[in-house]
Assembly symmetry: C2
Homo-oligomer: 261 residues x 2
Amino acid sequence: MDARARELLGPPAAVAQRIGSSVSPGPSHLAACLDGGARQTYREFPMHLTETEFIGALVQSKRRVRRTEVLCEAGDPFSHVYVASSGSFKSFVLTEDGRQQVTGFYIGGELMALDGIESEHHRVTITALEDGEVCVISFAHLEEMSSKTPHFQHQFHKLMSREIVREQGLMILLGVMRAHERVATFLLNLAERFRARGYSGTQFNLCMTRGEIGSYLGLSLETVSRVLSHLNDQALISVKQRCIAIPDAHALRAVIGQRAL
Amino acid sequence: MDARARELLGPPAAVAQRIGSSVSPGPSHLAACLDGGARQTYREFPMHLTETEFIGALVQSKRRVRRTEVLCEAGDPFSHVYVASSGSFKSFVLTEDGRQQVTGFYIGGELMALDGIESEHHRVTITALEDGEVCVISFAHLEEMSSKTPHFQHQFHKLMSREIVREQGLMILLGVMRAHERVATFLLNLAERFRARGYSGTQFNLCMTRGEIGSYLGLSLETVSRVLSHLNDQALISVKQRCIAIPDAHALRAVIGQRAL
DNA sequence: CGCGCCTTTGAAGGAGCTCAATTTAGGTGG
DNA sequence: CCACCTAAATTGAGCTCCTTCAAAGGCGCG
């Protein structure tokens, strides 16, 4: 349970013997790209790049986006990746019966659209959940920089690997967890990501609808709502519309692993 | 439905406008590493590396493995990646209540253990489902080669991206599909991978148990068995223990998207 | 201020899980 | 080569969790 907690809450460095608990629906986290200052391109890299420096060196342009605006669409030719700068984003694919499956939520500093490299076309559509800004990074440029600097390259590989790990966590969530466990996991993960961004990890606003959460967690929107209400009744969280408070993360974490609520 | 079919069956090149259908539980496919011949390290790379050449240039050693043997274990320090040469493999994580969640099945030419890069420790345990052989690739060597050759680097990025896409497909499967759709998707994907490897895509042996399939698909082993029996009754497939025949892949594909069986 | 979208809550039904018993296959030793 | 033994697979029955359908309440935006 503690291993799980650490996993859930510590996106990057944590090492777990048991990773069953490593449900980390959070995307690749980049502490960078948060202010507009890092637009220059370094010619000489320090030996050990932080993620911030890594991104700062890459960013060529920023783009303002409004709520519901589309960053890239499934099927589009792939040429750029994006880093959420401010605001929040979701990625999704459409099933042929028209429903959308949300594949990720992204907040500040997180890297998006890595799935497009393989087929050279985007596999997901990414839209803004609220007004914000994204860093636009040319993938060709990224690879060029990458080949020039081993540490730079390694940083990038880590970020891609992190996306793989993130999705593995989601597979566990979708494969074995109950509804209340999924929601609790989701909230704790989100809380930690807000905390890492400098916001409160104990109180925050959900930037997505119940339906989007449900799609992401493999649940109906009604179930998400019901579970939130139930957790609220148990005083494990406090819910008022989009506003969530987690008075005791440890207590909330305890519901993960419980077969029944 | 056709888009879905193409996606399901064409692991690499297929480009879909709608990717909702892109459920591709198959891992990164490498046509290489299938015979023992490609052990040399090229000094000069051709401009356009095939996957075969890509892997051939990397492989430093091969290793025989027996059924149930562990390739790498969750928590182990990460230093190598593996390519299934012959035989088949599964990757899984353990939930803290001791059950295992299978995260992937791998057959010839498919790249494994990319999840370990991020934390420098393996996140999954990989074991052999039958006696076989793996190519062992030093990741440090891979990165070194990668930085020397842009096309080499790009090939590797594509493979990592493919793993991300694969897991996205699985998320869709776990998130929105019914039991019969999951099983049909799984069988069609496996069939295509066997076909691509030169084996029959219409008749093959499952190298994993019902329980392992169930874990991978987020179903109980009984449900997997029931669905297989039911598909068999409908003459959509023929099942006899581990031996599966798919007389008409197109017909089987049609069950994907049906809300009820 | 009203309209639309999101959310909440209830009730009923169903898909799949769990528990349990039986059958089958595969491996081992006599 | 056969009998045994264990693990895997099949099949059934009841139950549970979650979905679906439905209706009402709330918030924000034009």
